[in-house]
Symmetry: C2
Subunit: 418 residues, 2 copies
Amino acid sequence: MEQDADTLIADMGARARAAATALAAMPTARKADGLRAAAAAICADAETILAANARDVEAGAANGLSGALLDRLRLDPARLEGAAKGVEAVAALADPVGAVIDSSERPNGLRLSRVRVPIGVIGIIYESRPNVTADAAALCMMSGNAAILRGGSEAAHSNRAIHAAFSRGLTDAGLPADAAQLVPTTDRAAVGAMLKADGAIDLIVPRGGKSLVARVQEEARVPVLAHLDGICHLYIDRAADPEMAVKLAVNAKMRRTGICGATETLLVDRAFADPAKILAALGDTGCELRGDADIRAIEPRTVPASAEDWDTEYLDSILSVALVDGVEGAMAHIARHSSHHTDAIVTEAADTAERFLNGVDSAIVMWNASTQFADGGEFGLGAEIGIATGRLHARGPVALEGLTTYKWVVRGTGQARP
Amino acid sequence: MEQDADTLIADMGARARAAATALAAMPTARKADGLRAAAAAICADAETILAANARDVEAGAANGLSGALLDRLRLDPARLEGAAKGVEAVAALADPVGAVIDSSERPNGLRLSRVRVPIGVIGIIYESRPNVTADAAALCMMSGNAAILRGGSEAAHSNRAIHAAFSRGLTDAGLPADAAQLVPTTDRAAVGAMLKADGAIDLIVPRGGKSLVARVQEEARVPVLAHLDGICHLYIDRAADPEMAVKLAVNAKMRRTGICGATETLLVDRAFADPAKILAALGDTGCELRGDADIRAIEPRTVPASAEDWDTEYLDSILSVALVDGVEGAMAHIARHSSHHTDAIVTEAADTAERFLNGVDSAIVMWNASTQFADGGEFGLGAEIGIATGRLHARGPVALEGLTTYKWVVRGTGQARP
């Protein structure tokens, strides 16, 4: 079975490489036409896709999937239309391929430029959301890459139906169907084969919960673009505007608690005048506060924090709170405990803000804004394949440009090297 | 011993991280002053360093090191001065840290920018050239990174002496000595510990022969920036200028045969008028030509090529030669056999050249220039830490910019996400 999975992925990889070669040289308009045709095919197949999805939801309920998982799995006409519109929106994004990053001319007359090119073959490993099938395929293709999609077993029928429509749209528009292939088995060995397929797959993007990302990061031989945790911090400086501090603390924690940009730890400068109002406002929203005796003295609803709290991504209405000694204390805490996703400062002191923005080593650093803005759409990228907390290639929200690399193009007139 | 190596590297990594944090925030002038002080200390310690090097060379000769290896190992006053001047040259390069890649303002007033920051801690694993100790440390530090250097056992005394001088220069200039640490043992377990030290080391750069690079790429859990092979191609199109074709073929192969940018395979369009002159000129230089009966019919000194020849990096006066059907045939051969380092076309037909430059998927593609130009210095980068053939982060010659990454800096005025 293991061998079968390796053979399967090697074969899909070879076909993906051929499609990637075609996509790399394809004009923007043809890629966009293909995606619009794929979106139209998804709408045309709505009945079939929703029926397939109903089978998945029924099986999931019978297998005891939780309500949250069933909700992620479930499609309805509005969600499916949203998925198709998402594909159309990607087709309207600016194409990064072919853009000249920089260029120069050498004294010997050689003209150099760095030109954006697709990465090649991208493997997407995801869980229960079937709309990722269309969304991830669209982002890969618009940036000139071929996609190998491996969705969760619980969404197998939905994914097959969406992929069948997507493929038909591509071929109707004259694009290679191998540009977006769906792994036909939900056997877990296929994931293992993808993770070690260096040479066949150039990049893996996991889309799902922490256990999926952890497995991918642990096992992969292929480079991975992902974040494991979003342990985001909001620091309230002594020079913070008190009203803004309350507003941002409540928004950063409570607007949506389940997203990776939600704040998990609030750091408050010991010299900040009125911490009680912030903690009371948070407590009033129903947020559980965890802290030490100092914090309990400020807000009596606080429960004691344990050592693990500072390294925990709650994704829930829970917030760890600590007093720190100014911006240097905040930065020291963040250096120890942040997952380097998004960390923010609230202050009216520009020099303190700049110290924080320069000194905090995270993919996203913010001044006087809610950490919940950590999102490709909010950043104006039009979409995102994910948020990366690794240090190489692309960091933070990643959209089309992050799915490209570059090559050096050298134009001469017969220069030999002396 | 394995455990000792892990502990050693974890400890060095922690000290490197602290130094990296200091370097990341350090003004350009202070980094440059530190490097100039390090260069001066190397010159001041010349006698000690040359004596240490003499011990290494003597031991190497007694252990039967080849002449080529002994030559790489050997320092003399001129070479040592060259190493010091190299460090000074790096100090004069433009500092990439802090550069704003792009910026935008969102409709809600959030101001976004992507700012270059150092990668963090970089591990350099190298072989017999002791000058890498100073050269690699300088490149890492000028780009704001801390370096962990692990040189070859055959150069242990030389590396220690150079590192001692370099460190003293740094501390004299008020920089942290931990910015450039030398692994104190030549035990191979230390290399293994570095390769799996993800979290402590952010990037590994191997500098040495193919077996070192292969081991690093095979074992590393930490991302690696490297190239394994330089199987470079020169394609002579039907529309090539015949004189330029002869000149570039001889230069691309024979100027220096031992560098990664040397051409290893010559592809000649079947429709090119005068291949005999090119092959005769190569044969006259003493280059061994390998090809099939067609090539032998053109140049009788040709010996038969085997299947492996097309995938071989000779690094010697040997060239495999094949006839191909135009630019499409050349691109098909290159797609199968290139190591994606550097591939070049010689032609006067601009459209054919653009087809090749777009269609060949290598880190460097060239038109009417010798593949031997594949070099950071020749590209105007001022130096290079290496040439990368991977697809992510940085490709081709890598200097200071390739040793940085970026972060998103978001400046608001109290925006909460709706």
